[in-house]
C-alpha cells in the first residue's frame, strides 16, 4: 500500500488570549493531539458539534492558524513546520470550500474573475486561456456559461456553492477541505451539491476532508469518518461502521439526537430516552474522558484518565474503556 496523501499525527491547535503587552496569557487547546489519515482519492468525514475543534483542524491544514504541536504530512512535506506560509506548490494542491455561500464569494467580482483568480495567482495563462478554463470549470459544476459575467448576488445559495467548488477545482488540487459545505442549504439543494462533489471526486481523483455536524449526511459520501468531541478524536473508522454501529457513547448520542422521520418510532424513542436517569451537568475532568460527564456508561476510571484508542472489531478505533477487553489489567495500571 502506498503512503497516505495526508497524515496528521498528534496535531494540537492552541489559541492564546493576548494580554496588552503581547505576552501569551491563557491558552485554549481547541485540538488535542489529533491523528487522522486521508488516502488518495478518498473522503474522510470529520464530524462534531460546535466547539469540537473540527474547523481548527481545517484551518491548521490550510495554513490559516499555526499548529502548537504535532505533524501534518502532506505529499512528503510537514506542513506544521512551515511557519512562514505554504509554498505555492503546496497551496495549489490543497483547496477549500467554506460554509457560508453568501460571504465566501467577493461581491464585487464577476463569476469569471472569481473562478479564474487561482489561475492568475499560480499560472502564467493568458486571458484567453483563462477564459476557456473558466468555461470548462462552470461545466464541471453544471452551471451555464452565461453566468460568467454575473455577480454573486444574482445567485442562490446552491449556485454560489457551485461557484465556490469551481474555484476550488481550478488548480486541479489533490485535496479539498470542505468546511460545512452544505449546512447553509436546503435539503434538496444539499443533495444536489453532495452528488456533484461525489461525482467530481471520482472523475478527477481528488480527496476530500469533509467537515460537518450531520453524521447522516457525511456518511453518504465518506469512506471513513472521524468523530470529534471537545478537541479529541473519540472515534474513527469506516463510514458505514461508524454510522450503523457506533462504538463510542458520544457517537451514539449524536446519532440518537437526530429525530427519526417516523413520528411513532420517534415518540417511542423519546419516551425511552427520557425514562433513563442521566447526570445533568457535565462534570469536566481535566485528565479523564471529556464525555464522562454526559456519558450514560461512565465508570470510575473514565474520570481518572483519557482512554487510549481501542480497536473496534469491525474496523477503526474508539477512545472508550467500554471497548477494553481486559478491564482488570487496565484498572490496575491506573493505580
Amino acid at each position: 500500500m502506498s503512503a497516505p496523501l495526508l497524515q496528521i499525527d498528534d496535531l494540537s491547535v492552541t489559541y492564546w488570549d493576548r494580554s496588552l503587552l503581547g505576552l501569551r496569557a491563557n491558552g485554549f487547546e481547541a485540538v488535542k493531539r489529533a491523528t487522522l489519515t486521508v488516502d488518495a482519492g478518498q473522503t474522510l468525514g470529520l464530524v462534531g458539534e460546535s466547539g469540537s475543534g473540527k474547523s481548527s483542524i481545517a484551518n491548521a491544514l490550510l495554513g490559516l492558524v499555526p499548529p502548537s504541536g504535532g505533524t501534518i504530512n502532506f505529499d512528503g512535506q510537514d506542513l506544521a513546520t512551515l511557519r512562514k506560509g505554504f509554498p505555492p506548490e503546496i497551496r495549489q494542491k490543497i483547496q477549500a470550500v467554506f460554509q457560508d455561500p453568501y460571504s465566501s464569494l467577493n461581491p464585487s467580482m464577476t463569476v469569471e474573475e472569481i473562478v479564474t483568480e487561482p489561475l492568475k495567482v499560480h499560472t502564467r495563462m493568458t486571458r484567453v486561456e483563462r477564459h476557456e478554463k473558466a468555461v470548462e470549470l462552470l461545466k464541471l459544476v453544471k452551471l451555464p456559461e452565461t453566468h460568467l459575467h454575473r455577480y454573486p448576488n444574482e445567485f442562490s445559495g446552491g449556485q454560489r456553492q457551485r461557484i465556490a467548488i469551481a474555484t476550488a477545482l481550478a488548480l486541479q488540487p489533490s485535496l479539498i477541505v470542505l468546511d460545512e459545505p452544505v449546512s447553509a442549504l436546503d435539503v434538496s439543494t444539499q443533495n444536489q451539491i453532495i452528488n456533484l462533489l461525489y461525482e467530481r471526486r471520482d472523475a478527477l481523483g481528488i480527496s476530500y476532508l469533509l467537515i460537518a455536524h450531520d453524521l447522516a449526511l457525511v456518511h453518504h459520501i465518506s469512506d471513513r469518518i472521524a468523530v470529534m468531541y471537545l478537541g479529541h478524536i473519540v472515534e474513527e473508522g469506516p463510514a458505514d461502521r461508524v454510522y450503523h454501529q457506533p462504538a463510542h457513547p458520544y457517537t451514539q448520542a449524536l446519532l440518537e439526537a437526530v429525530p427519526l422521520l417516523d413520528p411513532a418510532r420517534q415518540r417511542a424513542r423519546r419516551a425511552e430516552r427520557r425514562g433513563r436517569v442521566t447526570t445533568d451537568m457535565p462534570r469536566l475532568s481535566e485528565k479523564g474522558c471529556p464525555f464522562s460527564g454526559r456519558c450514560p456508561h461512565v465508570m470510575d476510571r473514565c474520570t481518572a484518565r483519557m482512554p487510549p484508542a481501542f480497536t473496534v472489531p469491525d474496523g477503526g478505533t474508539a477512545r472508550c474503556f467500554l471497548l477494553d477487553d481486559e478491564p482488570n489489567e487496565q484498572g490496575r495500571s491506573k493505580d
Partner: protein, 607 residues
C-alpha cells in the same frame, strides 16, 4: 447645477459680462439692475461676474483638498488596517488627537505655519480631512479582513498585496464615493469660512467666501450682497451630496437587485378571498383565513410572498410550518404578530386569535396582545436577547410592563421561570448577561421570556436551527413539557422535517408562499399526498441509505415575483401534467392538499 458650476469655472472669461476686478466706485453697492443683474459690491464690481469667477475657486479648492485627503488617507488606512498591531495603534492615536480638535482650528494652525493663501489653505484641509478617509479605509479593511472570501483568497495562495487590492479595495468604493462628496461639501464650506475670516483666498481675487466677507462689512447698506454667494454655496453643497448618493447607488456594482417588475403585475390577479375549506371550530386557538402578504422591493412593483394562507391551530396543539428557505414561512409567523417591516404589507386575510382579529386591532391593542396573548421565540438566541441587560432583567421587564407586577414580584416570578426552563442555579443565572450563556441556555431564557405572560399562542421560528443536535433534542423536550404545563397552542416554523416529526401534532408544508399540504403528523410521513412533500421527505439525509446520487428535487425554489401562475411546483414536479398549468385550490376534508393529481398518485412515504 453642477454642470453649470463646472461650465462657469472653465469658461469664466467668456460668460462674465464684466471683469470681476474692474472697479466702478460710482456705482458701488447697487441693487440688481439691467446692467448688473445681481448688482455691484462695495468697490462697484459686478456681483454676477465675481460669483462666476468664484465658482472657479469652488471647483479647484475642494478638488485639491479632497484629492490630497484621499491620497493620504486611503493608502495609510488600508495599510494599518491590514497590518494591525503597533502600526495601527500609533497611527490611530495620532488621528484621534487630530479629530478631537475642531477641524477649522487645526486648519488655522496649519495655515499659521504655512502662511495664508488658497493652496496652502487647501493643503491644510486636505491633511485634516485625510483622517476621515483613513478611518473609513481602516474600518472597511477590518471588516473585510474577516470575510470568508478573504479567507478563501488566502487558501488560494494570494499574497497580501493582491488580497488588499483585489478583494478589499474594491469594496471600499461605495463608502468612499459618499465620503468624497461629503468632503467636497465640507471643504467648500471650510474654504468659504477661511476666506471669510481672511486667511483663505486673498482679496481682490473673487471667491464665494471673500464675497461673503465683503458683504458682511456692508450688511447695513446693502443686505442683498450676501444672498448670491450664500445661495451658491448652499446649492452647490447640496448638489454634491445628492450626486454622491446617486453615484453610490449606481456604481456600487454587485449590490443591485435584479428586476422582478414584469411578472409581479401578473401575480396581482390571484383570487382575493380565502379558498381553503375551513369552518370555525370552538377548539381553535388560532385561525388564519386567506392571509396574503405583499413585499415591495426598493423601487419595484409589489410582489406577493404569502398567498391564500389558511390554517388553524387547536388549543394545546402544535402545528409545524415546514418548507425550504424562501417559502414564506418566517414572514407568515411575523405577519401573525403584525411584526412586519417597511415595504411589507398584509393585503388580505384575517388572523383570529380566539375571537379577536389581530389584523383588525389598532397599534396599541396589538402591542398589548403581543406578549400577553401571542409570544415568539426566534432562531438565534444570542441576537434575540439584548446584550446590555442581564437575562433576568429582560424577563422581569416583560412581567412589569405586560402584567404590572412590582419589581419584587417580577424578580421572584423570573427566577421561577428560569428554574422552570431547566437552568440550574436560577437565582444566580438571572444575573448573567446573554453572552455568558451557551446557545442552548440562551434559548431557554428566550423561551422563559416568551412564556412569562402565559400566552395563548407561541410562535417558534426555527428555535433549534442554530443549536447543536444534542442541545436541540433538549430544547424540543422542553417545548413539549412546557406545552403540557401551559397548554398554549404552538406554531413551529422549521425547515427540518425530522424536527417537525418530533415536536408537531400536525404539519403544514409551504411552497412558494402557499400551503401545499396539511395533515396530522403520522399521516403526513406515512402517506404524503403532495409531490413536494414526498420530494422533501426523500431528500432527508437519514431518509436514505447508501452512496450518491442522493435523491433531489430538480431545479430550485423560484423567487417571489417569479412564481408560475398555475401549480407553483409544476416545473419541478416529476408528475406534472397539462392540467397543472391552472391555479390549484386546496382540497380535502380531514387533511388538505393543493394538487390536481392528489387522488391518483401514490407517493413514497418517509423511510
Amino acid at each position: 447645477m453642477l454642470l453649470t458650476l463646472l461650465f462657469c469655472a472653465l469658461f469664466a472669461e467668456w460668460v462674465t459680462p464684466y471683469d470681476p476686478l474692474q472697479q466702478d466706485l460710482i456705482n458701488a453697492l447697487q441693487g440688481p439692475s439691467v446692467e448688473h443683474w445681481l448688482g455691484t459690491d462695495d468697490l462697484g464690481r459686478d456681483v454676477l461676474s465675481r460669483l462666476i469667477f468664484g465658482s472657479r475657486i469652488a471647483v479647484i479648492a475642494p478638488a485639491e483638498a479632497t484629492g490630497l485627503a484621499v491620497l493620504i488617507g486611503v493608502p495609510i488606512g488600508l495599510f494599518i488596517g491590514f497590518r494591525g498591531g503597533w502600526w495601527d495603534w500609533v497611527v490611530m492615536r495620532v488621528v484621534e488627537a487630530v479629530v478631537s480638535i475642531p477641524g477649522i482650528m487645526v486648519a488655522i494652525v496649519i495655515i499659521a505655519i504655512l502662511g495664508t493663501g488658497l493652496h496652502r489653505a487647501m493643503f491644510a484641509l486636505g491633511i485634516l480631512y485625510s483622517t476621515a478617509f483613513l478611518r473609513l479605509a481602516r474600518s472597511v479593511v477590518l471588516t473585510e479582513r474577516e470575510e470568508v472570501y478573504v479567507k478563501s483568497a488566502r487558501v488560494i495562495g494570494a499574497g497580501p498585496t493582491r488580497i488588499l487590492l483585489r478583494h478589499i479595495f474594491l469594496n471600499i468604493a461605495p463608502p468612499l464615493i459618499v465620503q468624497v462628496t461629503l468632503t467636497v461639501g465640507a471643504v467648500l464650506l471650510a474654504e468659504a469660512g477661511l476666506s471669510f475670516i481672511g486667511i483663505g483666498v486673498q482679496p481682490p481675487q473673487a471667491s464665494w467666501g471673500t464675497m461673503l466677507n465683503s458683504a458682511a462689512s456692508f450688511m447695513e447698506l446693502s443686505p442683498f450682497l450676501a444672498v448670491p454667494p450664500g445661495i451658491a454655496i448652499v446649492a452647490t453643497v447640496l448638489a454634491v451630496n445628492l450626486l454622491g448618493d446617486v453615484l453610490r447607488d449606481s456604481i456600487g456594482r454587485g449590490v443591485r437587485v435584479p428586476s422582478t417588475g414584469a411578472p409581479a403585475q401578473r401575480m396581482l390577479a390571484v383570487p382575493r378571498k380565502a379558498t381553503t375549506p375551513m369552518a370555525p371550530h370552538p377548539d381553535d386557538a388560532l385561525r388564519v383565513e386567506g392571509l396574503e402578504i405583499m413585499v415591495s422591493p426598493k423601487g419595484e412593483a409589489e410582489v406577493p410572498v404569502v398567498t391564500d394562507m389558511s390554517f388553524r391551530i387547536a388549543k394545546g396543539e402544535t402545528l409545524g410550518l415546514v418548507g425550504e428557505s424562501g417559502s414564506g414561512k418566517t414572514v407568515t409567523g411575523l405577519g401573525l404578530m403584525g411584526l412586519i417591516g417597511t415595504g411589507v404589507r398584509i393585503t388580505n386575510g384575517r388572523v383570529m386569535l380566539e375571537n379577536t382579529n389581530l389584523l383588525g386591532l389598532d397599534r396599541r391593542d396589538l402591542e398589548k396582545a403581543r406578549g400577553n396573548d401571542v409570544a415568539m421565540v426566534f432562531q438565534d438566541p444570542t441576537t434575540s436577547l439584548n446584550p446590555t441587560y442581564t437575562v433576568g432583567n429582560q424577563i422581569a421587564e416583560v412581567l412589569r410592563i405586560k402584567q404590572g407586577l412590582s419589581h419584587r414580584a417580577a424578580r421572584d416570578r423570573t427566577i421561577e421561570l428560569i428554574d422552570r426552563v431547566g437552568i440550574p442555579r436560577p437565582a444566580q443565572q438571572a444575573d448573567a448577561y446573554p453572552h455568558e450563556l451557551s446557545g442552548g441556555m440562551a434559548q431557554r431564557i428566550a423561551i422563559a421570556r416568551a412564556l412569562s405572560c402565559t400566552p395563548k399562542l407561541l410562535i417558534a421560528d426555527e428555535p433549534t436551527t442554530a443549536l447543536d443536535v444534542t442541545v436541540q433534542q433538549e430544547i424540543l423536550d422542553l417545548f413539549r413539557d412546557l406545552q403540557d404545563e401551559f397548554g398554549m397552542a404552538m406554531l413551529f416554523v422549521t425547515h427540518d422535517l425530522a424536527v417537525a416529526a418530533d415536536i408537531c401534532d400536525r404539519i403544514a408544508v409551504m411552497y412558494c408562499g402557499e400551503i401545499v399540504e396539511t395533515a396530522p403528523v403520522d399521516a403526513l410521513f406515512a402517506d404524503p399526498r403532495h409531490p413536494y412533500t414526498a420530494g422533501l421527505l426523500s431528500a432527508m439525509p437519514h431518509g436514505q441509505s447508501g452512496k450518491p446520487p442522493l435523491p433531489v428535487i430538480r431545479g430550485s425554489v423560484p423567487a417571489p415575483g417569479h412564481w408560475p401562475t398555475g401549480c407553483r411546483f409544476a416545473a419541478r414536479c416529476p408528475y406534472a401534467i397539462d392540467a397543472c398549468a391552472k391555479p390549484v385550490q386546496m382540497t380535502g376534508t380531514d387533511r388538505l392538499e393543493r394538487c390536481t393529481r392528489a387522488d391518483e398518485l401514490s407517493l413514497e412515504p418517509a423511510k
